[in-house]
Amino acid sequence: MADTERVPTIIADNAHIIYRIHGSIGPHQSSPLSSFKRLVTRQKSTAIREVHAVKGASFVAYRGEAIGLIGTNGSGKSTLLRAIAGLLPVERGGAIYASGQPSLLGVNAALMNDLSGERNVTLGCLAMGMTPAQVKEKVDDIIEFSGINERGDFSSLPMRTYSSGMSARLRFAIAAAKKHDVLLIDEALATGDAKFRKRSEQRVRDLRAEAGTVFLVSHSEQSIRDTCERSIWLEGGVIKADGPTEDVMKEYETFVKK
């Protein structure tokens, strides 16, 4: 392995990520009296619960790599990506180092449902730090690429009238409009139809060619095999395997089939 000229873009060093949930009212504290009792007895508030979603992840990602992230539902994939993007804080004792500002592209990335697709494109681009002039230039391209106007003028309708595939396409189109040092894709391609999937996979390869690093979370084995040569398998917040996609996939499959 020619380690010498490999430039790291993401370094995760023993990263722990914990969600804290307020106000999850359990069956035993639904009355004012029980809440009061809890306060008086200074019992540790059950209204704040912790979910330890990622437990000590360590890895190094290099420039030009496309890394697949696999694992069962709730294993912490989306959480890890959010932390890499700096959107969720890492607990003390660990750290995630990144070059530039990694961008996360997720299926549940919140755009505003009451606004038209076009307005959302503008808002999304501005939120990625583009200038209004750049945005104006790109709006038509983005809508064109997303293909939401193929069946009539949908870009001027509110996003709540879109099908889930259509909004996923629009979100992907917005995020892919910008060059990224590190692009994190969270199942964004899963709901698109075959035609769009092909177009977007091509875009991912282009983005990667522009000297970036791409992380791809997907439950589609084929997507991962097609785009990534390295994979990380996350299970219950722990990295179970990290290596060439073929090997990791094999292990993952034997685990899932059990």
Binding site: Y19, L87, P89, A95, Y97, S99, A127, M128, G129, D242
Partner: protein
Amino acid sequence: MAQTTVVESYTGPTPQELARKYGLGTAGRLPSLPEYTRQLWAYRHFIWEFASAKVSAALGNTRLGMIWQVLTPLINAGVYYVIFGVLLNTKRDTDNFIAYLCAGVFIFGYTQSVVQTGVQAVSGNLGLIRALHFPRASLPISIALVEARNMIASMAVLIAIVLFTGEPINWQWLLIIPALLLQTIFNAGAAMLVSRLGSKLHDLRQLIPFIMRVWLYGSAVLYPVTKYTEHLHGWKLAVIEANPVLVFIELIRHALMENVTLAGSPMLLWTEAAVWALVVGIGGYAYFWRGEKGYGRG
């Protein structure tokens, strides 16, 4: 289970050294205050667009749409007129009570709506915060901006009311501009303050209505400010008269109305207003900035 680990066995540099060597920053590093301000400035177009988007999203599915921006203050003034002007007939005590009342209601309402929506600026937009990277102060600032834009419509209504009730126009009216500017800075600071508090203390939202009620009674909105000097003494009076919203209301009344009794001299009121705007504006901003990296946590 055999581990296919191809992770580099760090014989050489530790992760920290490696990161430093290639100039990688931690994902959750807090920028310095000037750097943060620069970032925020670079996002001014986003802030503006987000504020407009919020207004259109809120009014977009109403039939009257943007007309509500003018209709809301009109109805508001109408309600207070019926209760205090017609039913209770509080008019006797003050010259031009209707104008006096409306100035109070609108100016108080400005700060009130900023505080009420500001509490949820962070906790209500967690989806956006966890999806996109932008200076988080954009959120409370956009909220202050939305209310500032609503305030322009309210001011037009207020001026119409004041004219209609027989106050003459003069140069003093221009003073409402600096007064409103100071209040806007104060409000933006307050929005940042309560949005950070509200992101951690979720119970605060339940308390806000009561806090606002107390604040309303302490701001001489519904009755003349002279009531305080008649009934209160010593520190109680001092506390009431330092109340920032009372100060802003008094300044607007002073600017728009001829014969109005103020709580203090205009000079004192302007100084108080400027001090409040600076302290809360800068303090709220710095306080919000300290929490920047934790807002995604929820």
